[in-house]
């Protein structure tokens, strides 16, 4: 299974089909994608750009019958631990471990000698921003992804250890559903206890070798083992800003707009440059211009670009990326009219950055400016915003320039946001009623907006 940013499950399934060649099943527990692979494909799975975390399924129950009482249910979970088909999954985990070590030494390649079939596993959506630095080598870092459901992990206080190689583990339990008699804490504790008994592993919250996942969503129960140690979602960014988007979300947005060869792609509010950088790496047949008005933002962007280029140079490949950075004012872009093919950006959120009031004024003027530079007829925009009301309102006033084509709902840092795919109409800028009206009566428009605000 892999976890993906909620809303982008189909994108992930597409990438999986494209790069691994298997059909993926999207779990109704949002944010998860399941797919079957043989272990020789494990390495490729780690290269997927739209997935956050990977797990291998130990067992899956679609209609698990929970007992009535809490005690009985927990008892059953404990018994479950010793009856599960661990062998295959553990074998995959072992092979994955050697794979990661190889990755650490910058040598790719699969290690599979035997090929047990494994069911790929999904994971939970990590929606909080995490501040740890991603490294090329996998450093053991305990992470806690959270989902829409409650999430917790636990450990047992006892330890036994004999045998030369003592394996340390922890159990993470995600539970969703209102008919359960127990909490995820309790489930993790009891299940974990039984696992420990069965394998004689040592429980350790922070320095663990194996992470066992217990996922309960209404009647669906999945037990899995983690294959990724750190979330893949911050892979490109070494210099964070306050609201850096995770790479998997950037990738999802880029796939949505389907960049073509020689497309000119602008991010006029780039922040730390996460989106254009992901584009320059993964969809490198297009050209990216990252811009922001803020000093720190443009400098961080350049730092991030340099960091990646250095990494590539160290590996011996050509380091140059098709990306540039400019400092500009988004409402007055120093760009030739109709010269841009795609605009892709994360628009300031009312709550996380900027303010609601500012958005009311900002959104219409920046949408107009974006329409001006965007190529009529073929141009597109992919815009992420949490301020859906303000955005929808602004867009509805620009039917002559922008048409909504598709919307994806996502979860960013615990907040619900929308990714809007817009098409630029064929209308030439400066001739639609909106811009003529705007340029003549800018003051009037603002007044009108204020009235709406009072009403709504």
């Amino acid at each position: 299974i892999t976890t993906v940013p909620t809303g982008f499950e189909h994108t992930a399934a597409e990438e999986i089909k494209e790069k691994i060649g298997v059909d993926a099943r999207i779990s109704k527990d949002r944010g998860r994608v399941f797919f079957p692979i043989t272990t020789d494909k494990l390495f490729q799975v780690h290269l997927l750009r739209s997935v956050d975390n990977l797990f291998v399924v130990v067992e899956e129950y679609h209609h698990y019958q929970f007992k009535e009482s809490k005690e009985e249910t927990l008892m059953e979970l404990q018994q479950l631990a010793s009856t599960l088909p661990w062998t295959n999954a553990l074998e995959v985990w072992k092979q994955n471990g050697t794979l990661k070590k190889k990755k650490g030494h910058r040598r790719g390649g699969n290690t599979a000698k035997s090929k047990p079939n494994c069911e790929g596993v999904g994971g939970s959506m990590a929606s909080t921003e995490q501040q740890e630095l991603p490294q090329e080598n996998s450093a053991p870092e305990g992470w806690a992804g959270d989902t829409q459901a409650m999430e917790t992990s636990t450990q047992d206080s006892d330890e036994t250890g004999h045998g030369s190689k003592l394996i340390k583990f922890r159990v993470t339990c995600n539970r969703a559903g209102d008919k359960h008699s127990f909490s995820s804490n309790e489930a993790a504790r009891d299940f974990g206890g039984a696992v420990q008994e069965f394998f004689q592993w040592k429980a350790d919250m922070t320095k663990f070798d194996i992470e066992v996942l217990l996922n309960i969503h209404n009647e669906e129960v999945v037990i899995g083992i983690a294959l990724t140690e750190e979330s893949l979602h911050r892979r490109n960014i070494s210099h964070f800003g306050p609201t850096t988007l995770r790479s998997t979300l950037c990738y999802g947005m880029l796939r949505l707009c389907k960049p073509q060869a020689s497309d000119i792609i602008l991010d006029p509010m780039c922040g730390t440059g996460a989106i254009p950088l992901e584009g320059a790496i993964e969809f490198n047949h297009s050209f990216y211009v990252a811009g922001d008005n803020n000093d720190m933002a443009v400098n961080r962007t350049v730092n991030n670009i340099c960091h990646i280029q250095k990494r590539r140079a160290d590996k011996g490949s050509m380091s140059g990326l098709p990306i540039d950075t400019v400092q500009w004012d988004l409402c007055s872009l120093p760009i030739r009219t109709s010269s841009v093919d795609i605009i892709i950006t994360d628009m300031p959120f009312g709550k996380r950055m900027g303010s609601r009031k500012k958005n009311w004024d900002l959104y219409p003027s920046c949408l107009r400016e974006m329409a001006r530079v965007c190529r009529p007829g073929s141009g597109k925009a992919v815009l992420l915003t949490q301020d859906k009301k303000c955005f929808s309102k602004a867009i509805s006033r620009m039917g002559g320039l922008w048409r909504k084509q598709h919307t994806v709902w996502v979860n960013v840092g615990g907040l619900h946001a929308g990714v809007y795919l817009l098409k630029r109409t064929g209308a030439v800028f400066g001739q639609t009623p909106e811009d003529v009206y705007e340029s003549r009566g800018a003051v009037h428009m603002q007044g009108e907006e204020k009235d709406d605000k009072e009403l709504s």
């Binding site: 060869a261 020689s262 000119i264 490198n284 047949h285 050209f287 211009v289 008005n293 443009v298 400098n299 350049v302 280029q309 050509m318 380091s319 140059g320 990326l321 098709p322 540039d324 950075t325 400019v326 400092q327 500009w328 004012d329 007055s332 872009l333 120093p334 760009i335 030739r336 010269s339 841009v340």
Partner: protein, 118 residues
Amino acid sequence: MKLLTHNMLTSHVKGVTKGYPLLIKATEVKVNEVEFNPQFVSRMIPKLEWSALVQAAEEDLPGELVADYETNEEFLKKVHRILLEVEVLEGCLQCPESGREFPISRGIPNMLLNEDEA
């Protein structure tokens, strides 16, 4: 700043009508290796303001595009180098009409205007 980007940048100082192309005054230039993709270059050429590129490149690029440039690999490689591999790290861009200079530092052109210019 790469020359491909320069090809799109204009001066937007208030009142200026001929703000393109910006004049490049470079004090530090770097050349980076970027993977060559002939399709990228040949598809990009029609999107460019060719004369502005010729002016910016200061190298012998033909003033007019030859026919069949799409298949002329040597030509495409030359254009590739000029568009993507040459970078202006320090210097400035000058508005051809107002003379206003926009500084370039660490490869980043600062196109922000003062209040009275906007």
